[in-house]
Symmetry: C2
Subunit: 577 residues, 2 copies
């Protein structure tokens, strides 16, 4: 009896049920949710191609953290990698009062050594859709990531209605090892990682094993491996679903679409969005969205779900999943061709989505009317000592050996570069449409120190890369804060006139925002969270090549740091009994 | 003029010349020799197959350290690996007064983090042939190793005569990454690394690119790559050469031979050997020898140098080099078939060589007549929680998070297992010729604490592995000491009668000694070097699977430890200005 019941209830539904039950039994008091994770390598075939993948408790993506606003999350991370360190960042969680739990290696902590266990403890103070991922080397790309889904408190409800919810995490996938890729990036001549082999939807893709130029054995690539069967999103006709859609791609900007169905955007990075309808959702690495989907189409068939690369000329096949209208078999193939998504270089449409995202009425937090400080960051690709790097105002970040948080809190001398970081670039003389006249940049561990509680504007200014007629998209992610997205523009930012066009009425707050080719993006935030926070391009290779700056604010107000964050740089010592 | 001279003097000769000149200009005072090394990955094709290789200053094997007895060696090791730690052990150097420079991660130091620089400083107090290599994970196998050649002091000479010398470092080589291999070893079911693809002589081998079961592109495997041209040993007819021959294989025991030439063994592990002549030299991983070779054969041709796998059924082709009689072209192929070496399972011949190695007359250091303590170590393959491990008396070593040296010196509590380690096994009831009745062992970080200045005998007792009718060879290496090799035997060690047959008259001192299949090996050493010292099987995979014990002696006499060895386990703290 139990068995037959089990057969009818699919696993995903069961999980959703468990989540709902767990919320029902919750008391008014916030709970502590305890996780024990072991990080290791395992052979996985997420796109049918067998590869050593970085896993949590044997899984990639790792376990989903399900919590309720106000809960305390405790994650004991045991590093079981043979020789590699690690660190895990809780993407979108502000870490108020716990800046040492931010998981940014070199910023908030020393790396977690093989064999060691690090305990992250933090409060999820806001309902919404968040992420976690490795923040060390390029380990995120190796598979170390997952989702954090935070429900509203008891007695509260969200300002939109749905029957069920599903989580959809997107990423891109390479067959080369991360080590191989990192080696190429830090070589002269520079060897780029290239375009990914597959796009994965909830960790599942399908590589065409016979498409490779060299022969691959079935042991290495097997399209009938159940690990690479497509993700099935099962729906009941006429019901409405909340889909939480996020991306942790290494490189690719994505569009996500469901054949024959529109999507209503209602949440972005944990903030309610004034609803708007899209045919396809653009998602940049580090962004999270919730959309509503109503199963309103012909229920006699299934539909394709697809994701495709945008913003770079794609050479990666579509990522595919199945929207399964029950009671159809999930194995019933849609009778159609999967939606190819928008053309890759339709920047106008992507920008239109960015502009459409406004804070939802009734949930608007108005930004301060003006900034105390404006930092303009010119995004360029450069050379530092012959190596290809990414720079802001011609400075490429090199993380120090001693984490900034420890160095600043305990005033350790010489722990990082004390040279002031540039507030701007020589805007009048710089042609953003050309390859830099002087390609050389410098590398530095210098930071931006912000006055506590001040209001800061950052203008991200895009430009041409080292390749003529090329400017790339960059999703910028800020740790420790949500920022208001107050403006986007084409071309060079005009500090006199553009600020007049800022949206200060109902701007969305986000933690990750795209910067479009040859354009600018303006954000505003309050430096109100004591700690040290990195702000970086969320493209794994760009961050690895120095595309980041670091902000400090109110570090004197940070409590005593746990010794667990130490052990590197100037923080090695024996610790008497 | 200079150019034409240069053309005639080959590079190896030039290096030897530099070495000689450097010795000539030395004063009576010992010198400090300073090295700056950067550890990184690079693509290398040592056997024509391109692979990410762990290098020092771009080289694998790394730079040869050339020094004179009494010199102080300072090596600044910068870890430029993207996410992996490292540590380097100075194999055969006793580290008297500098136990923190032994480079054994988990024993004498915390690992060196990416970006960090660790300074090793130690005295080479004895002339001879030594080695260095990574002592972390299985990084030695990835290519991180090299030679240390220590000359006699000014005014002293060696008790044998030669015209020139050459260094020959042997190793085996895998095409799979070390990570791949480590993953297999720590999986259930166990996946063995298998036999190596190539044997390298001075970092050069030649893989048959077309022998692979899957097609390999020329970019991946190219037999005309100069990196895999054979090593050329150039000699002048009638001259005598000292060949320093060592092995840092991961797995393989080797035989080394030169077609048509006998070799006279004169040094083993830095100790003078009463000369004896061999047709082939057996070399186990971690052993070093010097042999004399006289270029006494037909000078009109070149000869093959070969190395082959012994002690395991080989599936690896011969490693080949060329003995080049000048003025023949080094490219002139010998007109013969390379010597295949002895059959792999001729244990009797290998044992005969071990028995033939005695201390040279005039250089005998007589061992104490009896031991204060006898530790018998049964070598077995076991299961620990389902994982395949190697054990001593049913205990498999698990290194602690806090290095023993720090934990013991500063009496840190709970840093490692305090359970006493077993002195013996149930010899009467144990059948060494069968698979263990109970395959289960335990894993422990417990150690052997030795009375300072006491004399310790260790009897290594071999047995059957988990495979019926199989017992493997194990080269055992002791850090911080030279030991006397006092006996070898077949079968089960007889504690009543076998000690009566010990050679206490002229035993050789070594730091690495083989244990033969189903046999025993007895060593004696004095616990006279304050510190903590690991004693382990030098097969990389065996050590990785726990085949080691740890000795402590006189740790209270060890000076203050540098903070550079700390940063892991209980040694994380900020270190005020």
């Amino acid at each position: 009896m139990v068995n037959s019941l089990m057969q009818r209830v699919n696993f995903v539904t069961l999980c959703a049920l468990c989540f709902l039950i767990s919320l029902l039994v919750s008391t008014v008091e916030a709970r502590v949710r305890h996780y024990r994770w072991e990080v290791n390598y395992e052979y996985k075939s997420p796109d049918c191609f067998k590869k050593l993948t970085m896993t949590i408790n044997g899984k990639s993506p790792g376990p989903t953290i399900l919590a309720q606003q106000g809960d305390t999350i405790v994650v004991e991370v045991k590093n079981s990698l043979p020789t590699e360190n690690t660190a895990i960042h809780w993407h979108g969680i502000r870490q108020i009062g716990t800046p040492w739990s931010d998981g940014a290696e070199g910023v908030s902590q020393c790396p977690i050594l093989p064999g060691d266990t690090f305990i992250y403890k933090f409060v999820v103070d806001k309902a919404g859709t968040f992420l976690y991922h490795a923040h060390y080397g390029m380990q995120r790309e190796a598979g170390l990531f997952g989702s954090i889904l935070v429900a509203v408190p008891d007695g509260e409800s969200e300002p939109f209605i749905y029957d069920h919810e599903h989580n959809i995490l997107l990423n891109d996938w390479y067959h080369k090892s991360t080590l191989d890729q990192a080696e190429g990036l830090s070589s002269i001549p520079f060897v780029f990682v290239g375009e990914p082999q597959s796009l994965l939807i909830n960790g599942r893709g399908k590589f065409n094993c016979s498409s490779s130029s060299i022969s691959i054995t079935e042991e290495v690539c097997n399209t009938s491996n159940p690990q690479c069967s497509p993700y099935i999103l099962s729906v009941t006709p006429r019901k409405t679903y909340r889909l939480r859609i996020s991306s942790l791609t290494s490189l690719s900007a994505l569009s996500f679409q469901i054949e024959g169905h529109n999507l209503t955007v209602v949440e972005a990075d944990g903030h309610y969005v004034e609803p708007f309808v899209v045919e396809n959702l653009y998602v940049y690495s580090g962004e999270t969205y919730s959309v509503l989907l109503t199963a309103s189409q012909d229920p006699s068939r299934n539909y394709w779900i697809s994701t495709n690369v945008v913003a770079r000329k794609p050479s990666t096949p579509l990522g595919l999943a199945i929207l399964n209208y029950s009671p159809n078999s999930p194995k019933k193939m849609p009778p159609t061709i999967p939606p190819p998504g928008p053309v890759w270089n339709d920047t106008a449409s992507a920008l239109a989505q960015s502009l459409a995202i406004k804070a939802r009425h009734g949930f608007i937090r108005t930004p301060p009317p003006k900034a105390d400080r404006v930092i303009v960051l010119l995004n360029t690709q450069n050379k530092v000592d012959g190596y290809t790097r990414w720079s802001l105002n011609n400075v490429s970040l090199a993380l120090p050996l001693t984490p900034y948080l420890v160095a600043l809190k305990y005033k350790l001398p010489h722990a990082f570069d004390q040279t002031p970081t540039p507030e701007n670039y020589d805007s009048a003389d710089y042609d953003i449409y050309s390859v830099p006249k002087n390609v050389n940049a410098t590398s530095s561990s210098g930071i931006y120190r912000l006055d506590f509680n001040s209001t800061v504007d950052v203008i991200l200014q895009n430009a041409n890369t080292l390749t003529p007629n090329n400017s790339e998209s960059h999703p910028w992610h800020l740790h420790g804060h949500n920022f208001w997205v107050i403006g986007f523009g084409d071309g060079k930012f005009d500090i006199e006139n553009d600020p007049k066009k800022y949206n200060l009425v109902n701007p969305i707050m986000k933690n990750t925002v795209p910067l479009y080719p040859y354009g600018w993006t303006a954000i505003r935030f309050q430096a109100d969270n004591p700690g040290v926070w990195i702000f970086h391009c969320h493209i794994e290779t760009h961050f690895y090549m120095g595309m980041a700056v670091v902000f400090e604010e109110g570090v004197d107000m940070v409590g005593d740091l746990p010794s667990s964050v130490m052990g590197c740089g100037q923080t090695k010592a024996f610790h008497g009994p």
